[in-house]
Amino acid sequence: MELRATVEEEVARELTRMGVEGGIAELIKGEFIPAGLTAEFDELLEMQVGEAYAEDIIRMLGRGEEGEVKLGDIEVKVDKSELSGKIKEELKTKLRDVRMKLSEEKLDAILKKAEEKYEEAKVEPREAVGIVAAQSIGEPGTQMTLRTFHYAGVGAIYITLGLPRIIEIVDARKKPSTPAMKIKLAGEYALDRNKARELATEIEETYIRDIKSKIESSTEDMCVWVSLKEKELERKFIKREEIEEKIKEVGKDVLVETMEDGKLRIHVKRMSFHELLKLEKDLSDKLVKGIEGIKRAIVRRDADGEYMLYTEGSALKKVRRMEGVDFSRTTTNNISEIVDVFGIEAARNVIIKEMMDTLEEQGLDVDARHVTLIADAMTMDGEVKSIGRHGLAGGKVSALSRAAFEVTVDNLLGAAMYGETDELKGVTENVIVGQPIKLGTGAIELVAR
């Protein structure tokens, strides 16, 4: 604190020397330093007392050498410009880096140029954005691998990637060929590896067959003997009592006894041989822990050093209320599950993310706006619709464009029989009847002035 006081004093002195009125505190509070820069300014104040700092602060305040632009001016002017948020931020950081060489006129010129370029990059009304999006994804699609399986880098979980994955997304399948979840953890679960592991065992499915060392039915005393792997039990945090409970669920009147050597004796009164064999099978297929369908759950550390779970298999609803799961940050690659649990907007975002990630993994750089358009088209009705070779599912297609695509005669005949009308709205229909199409130049009606 004392250090800070001296810094402030010195800066204040410097400022008075330069003819700036008021103390430093007022300067910070006042409009002299624009909001958003105060943090940076505070950092400077915290810096070691030295010769450099005072100059730095003065420079930040913008009363430095001749021709230099004020940081505040960059902030204010960029904010006022007609650019979008992200571009503004990028421009600000870039301009800050070169502010020593920047004069006011140069700043204005840069902003003007940026606005021009931004305006040029916008699509204009009547542009055929759908076609452009289709081509922009279609062409890179030709370069994608046809190989279905590919591991996603993390652990040994396999996830469909490449072209098959893109097709899967666009097809709006109920279940992807390799469902998988990314589960973020809450509180101490995210920080403690053992806690995370314990949670993983709650999620990963475990059958008796996974933890038994031996299961056999004995016709001598008409019962099933199960011996368990102690190590597995320990690793999966399963208590013996839990197993006994689960075994009792297998059928009516199932009796379980634990022998002195740890073997389990399972018995049902008056059992036939057939029933005995069935009991053995049912026992080995009995789920003792975890969620059915989740084949694996792997603990990994994410980029922020938090522990999280990757799963093979997906069951969002079941994971929802589990303790330790941070559900708001948990996701799956199963889009239909996302719709059910989080809603259509989330599904749209997941479609975009999954497609972009798949394309990126293949080293293809597709502009997000093309993908966004596709996701919007698929989700605009409140449910996820597929895009197949006949276009967006459920869309009414004109008879003429259907005829132009496949089985021409059948389509025309059918349309004639049902007395269909064609509104000539699409491209194909208008080409067929020899009219300009309703896109670009073709959509414009002229009037004499």
Partner: protein
């Protein structure tokens, strides 16, 4: 078609192309040229007229 407020008094590139095209056709068919120019190509003449704002054609935009 939805136009933003600030785009309303600006022609899109398609409108511009359509206007210049229509005007060039008129000029090619012998319509009197409205500006003094050295150009011979009707398209060039139409573009110059467009730049000066003299083309007696506009576009119809739906509300």
């Amino acid at each position: 078609m939805v136009f933003l407020e600030k785009e309303r008094d600006k022609y899109t590139k398609y409108e511009k192309a359509r206007i210049i095209g229509a005007r060039a056709l008129q000029i090619a068919a012998g319509a009197p040229v409205l500006i003094g120019t050295k150009e011979i190509d009707p398209i060039e003449i139409a573009m110059e007229e467009f730049k000066l704002g003299g083309i007696p054609i506009t576009v119809k935009r739906e509300k």
